[in-house]
Every structure is written in structure tokens, then in C-alpha cells.
């Protein structure tokens, strides 16, 4: 991956002033992140870590300010090489361009999404994640989808008087500026009709009642 990145860098632009979009394309950001920055560039498949969908900054941990994005470009991340030789001014122009691509500002961030490695005997699995809202009013997750399963339902597990009761719910509420945790023994996602063979990781897209969507990647964990 690094070799490809350097090759792209070698073909980088000269001294003339270019727009953030031109720099984005000239430095080869599009190879992994895609020309429209959706994380689906031609070299994305070669990367061990899924390139970030830059149009949806809020769905990922990591900086979303111009300075923060500029630093990521310079120093890289565990999944992306750094490009310290791109001048700061140009890095900032690229960062501005990336910020301009962001769809509606996502007000919910998703952290720590994981799927319990499904038992091969059954065609269901559960998934968990932490939802953090920066909205000043309560929001609700009203639908969830994933390429991993035909159907993703939201379920609540309640334990009352030593009896465990599971029920499907139509929405999961996130308090204003608050956090909702989907965790074992509580609210969780139920996946029905699993894609086989299982991929190494998957993603979930959550639709909120304000019309925005948030996409997150999820890993498989075996709690045993």
C-alpha cells in the first residue's frame, strides 16, 4: 500500500496553485478514498483497513477539523500512510475540500461496533455499538441495514423477576447530547439471514429520525 502511495506522490503536482479538489486528485487521495471521497477508490480493495468514507466524517472516530484532517494527511493513521512532504497550505486546502463534501453534518457518532461471531448452527446473530449524539434534541434510530444480513432488527432484552424477555422495537432513542449503549443483555441489533461465508468485517448503516444516516464498520468478536 505504501509503495502505491509513494508512486502516487511521485506523480504529484508542481508549484502552481490548485484547488483543494485538484490537489485531492493530484496527490492520489482518490486511489483509496475514491474520486467522490466515498471510500470506494480503485485501490481500496488492496488496503487492509477500509478507507474512510470522507463524505461521512461524523460516522468515524478521528478529526474533522481542517487542522485535524491536515495532520492526518501529514502523519497518517494506523490504516493510512502519512504524507509529510505535502506542504501544510496544500494539506489544508485538501482538508477544506474534504469538509465541503460532508453530506449533512452527522450528529450521531457510532463507536465500538461489533458482531458476536455467529454460531454456525443458527442463522441469527447479535450486534452491539455505542451511539453518541451531539444533537440538542433526542434522536431515534429508526432503521438499520447491513450487507451482513437480510434483515437487521432492533431488539430489547429485559430481565424481570428472573425471566428474560426479548422484544422487537421500532426505534432506539438517543438522549439529547447523550449516549445510548447497545450491549449484551440489553438493547441489541438482531441480524436475521446471514451472508455466508462471513466477511472479515462488515458495516452497519443507521437511519435516524432526522433523516440523516450514519455508517460504521464493525468487527467480529468471539466472546468465548
Amino acid at each position: 500500500m505504501t509503495a502505491i502511495a509513494f508512486l502516487l506522490f511521485a506523480c504529484g503536482p508542481g508549484a502552481e496553485v490548485k484547488s483543494g479538489r485538484e490537489l485531492y486528485l493530484a496527490y492520489g487521495c482518490a486511489a483509496c478514498h475514491g474520486a467522490n471521497a466515498d471510500g470506494r477508490g480503485p485501490a481500496a480493495a488492496l488496503s487492509q483497513v477500509k478507507p474512510r468514507d470522507l463524505t461521512n466524517l461524523g460516522a468515524y472516530r478521528g478529526p474533522s477539523t481542517v487542522e485535524g484532517i491536515s495532520n492526518v494527511i501529514a502523519f497518517g493513521t494506523p490504516g493510512m500512510p502519512g504524507y509529510p512532504d505535502i506542504p501544510k497550505r496544500e494539506r489544508e486546502a485538501i482538508a477544506e475540500h474534504i469538509r465541503s463534501l460532508a453530506k449533512s453534518p452527522a450528529r450521531v457518532a457510532v463507536y465500538d461496533a461489533w458482531v458476536r461471531t455467529p454460531n454456525p448452527a443458527v442463522d441469527v446473530a447479535s450486534a452491539y455499538m455505542t451511539l453518541v449524539s451531539t444533537a440538542n434534541e433526542p434522536l431515534s434510530v429508526v432503521a438499520v441495514s447491513s450487507p451482513l444480513a437480510n434483515i437487521v432488527e432492533m431488539h430489547e432484552t429485559k430481565s424481570v423477576d428472573g425471566m428474560m424477555s426479548m422484544s422487537k422495537v421500532s426505534a432506539v432513542r438517543i438522549p439529547a447530547n447523550g449516549t445510548t449503549k447497545l450491549a449484551p443483555g440489553g438493547t441489541h441489533l438482531m441480524l436475521v439471514g446471514l451472508r455466508k461465508p462471513l466477511p472479515r468485517q462488515t458495516e452497519f448503516t443507521l437511519r435516524l429520525d432526522d433523516g440523516t444516516t450514519v455508517t460504521t464498520t464493525a468487527v467480529f468478536l468471539d466472546e468465548q
Binding site: R116, N119, P120, A121, V122, D123, V124, A125, S126, N150, I151, E153, H155, T157, S159, G162, M163, M164, S165, M166, S167, K168, P184, G185, H188, M190, L191, V192, G193, E223, Q224
Partner: protein, 182 residues
């Protein structure tokens, strides 16, 4: 009664008192189900072995695997000697036939698990004897019926008596310690 017999009776009583280090919490009595190989399995089938037991079903994506992973951790903590204590996974879900149970439980390698099911009459009697309950209902899920069920983990001693009850939040260490004490 002559004095020899009295002494023998006293010795026997003493031996029993020594052996019974845990108090019986409930009198579950004898029960009969079918195991994951399709063979009859009765309370006496444990043949003097302690056992863990809980109610679950394979289509349960959240609680049952969580309980199973707690139990798996307990076995790890308790060491190899604890492998003599089977875990009985009792399903009241009609979808859980013996072959389904067997395949499901094979996944939990660290746990010497035995799946149990049975006729509705057998299951209802057994559930009642354990002071448990269950309700099968349609929750509108694409995965089919939901089984609400009791979530306690039972520890049975060598006599098949329930000597410990754990709730789902119990730490694996506590379960391991109780297993080692039997």
C-alpha cells in the same frame, strides 16, 4: 436395634453430613428429558456428578450466548478438573431438535455441554420442578417466535439437588469457585 446397627447408622449419617457441604436450595425431584443424541436423559443419568444447568434456546442471539460465554470463562477459571461437571442446556423451543442442539453446543468448545429437550409434557414438568417458567410468543421478529424464559444458572450437586443459583450478571470467578467446591 442392637448397638452395632446403631453405630453403623450413626456412621452413615455422619458420612452423609460430611459429604453434603452445600445446603439444598430446592427439591427438584426426578425428571426425564431427551439429550442431544436423541437418547433418554434422566436426573439419575448424571450418576453422582455435579452439573450446571440453564434454560435457553438456539435462536436467542443475545442472552443465551452471553450466558454461555460466562459459563465458558468459569470453566477456564475452574481448571481442567471442572470438565467432569457437565453443563446442561435445556431448550423448550420446539425448533431445537437434538441434532440442532448438538450442532449449536459443539461451537462452545470450552464447555462440556449437553443439550436437553423433550416432549412438551416432559419439559413443562421439568421447568416447574426447577421453579422456572417460559412463554413462547410471536414478537414480530423475522427470526420467528421468541422464547421468554427464566435466566438463572443452577448448580446441582452429586445428588442432583440445586445448591446454588446464579443470576446472569454473576462473575465467572464466582461460578468457578462454586464448581471447585463440589
Amino acid at each position: 436395634m442392637n448397638s452395632k446397627a446403631a453405630l453403623l447408622a450413626l456412621l452413615l449419617l455422619f458420612a452423609c453430613a460430611e459429604r453434603k457441604t452445600h445446603e439444598k436450595l430446592m427439591d427438584v425431584g426426578a425428571w426425564q428429558l431427551v439429550d442431544h443424541d436423541g437418547r433418554g436423559f434422566r436426573s439419575e443419568s448424571l450418576r453422582g456428578q455435579p452439573a450446571l444447568l440453564f434454560f435457553g434456546y438456539t435462536h436467542c442471539p443475545d442472552f443465551c450466548p452471553t450466558m454461555m460465554s460466562t459459563v465458558a470463562r468459569a470453566y477456564r477459571k475452574a481448571g481442567p478438573d471442572a470438565q467432569r461437571i457437565p453443563t446442561l442446556f435445556v431448550s423448550v423451543d420446539p425448533r431445537d431438535t437434538p441434532p440442532v442442539l448438538k450442532q449449536y453446543l459443539a461451537y462452545f468448545g470450552a464447555v462440556p455441554a449437553r443439550g436437553l429437550t423433550g416432549s412438551k409434557a416432559q419439559l413443562d414438568a421439568m421447568v416447574k420442578q426447577f421453579g422456572a417458567s417460559y412463554v413462547i410468543h410471536d414478537s414480530g421478529s423475522a427470526a420467528g417466535p421468541t422464547v421468554d424464559h427464566s435466566v438463572r444458572l443452577y448448580l446441582l450437586d452429586r445428588d442432583g439437588d440445586v445448591v446454588k443459583l446464579f443470576d446472569p450478571q454473576t462473575k465467572p470467578e464466582a461460578i468457578a469457585a462454586a464448581m471447585q467446591s463440589l
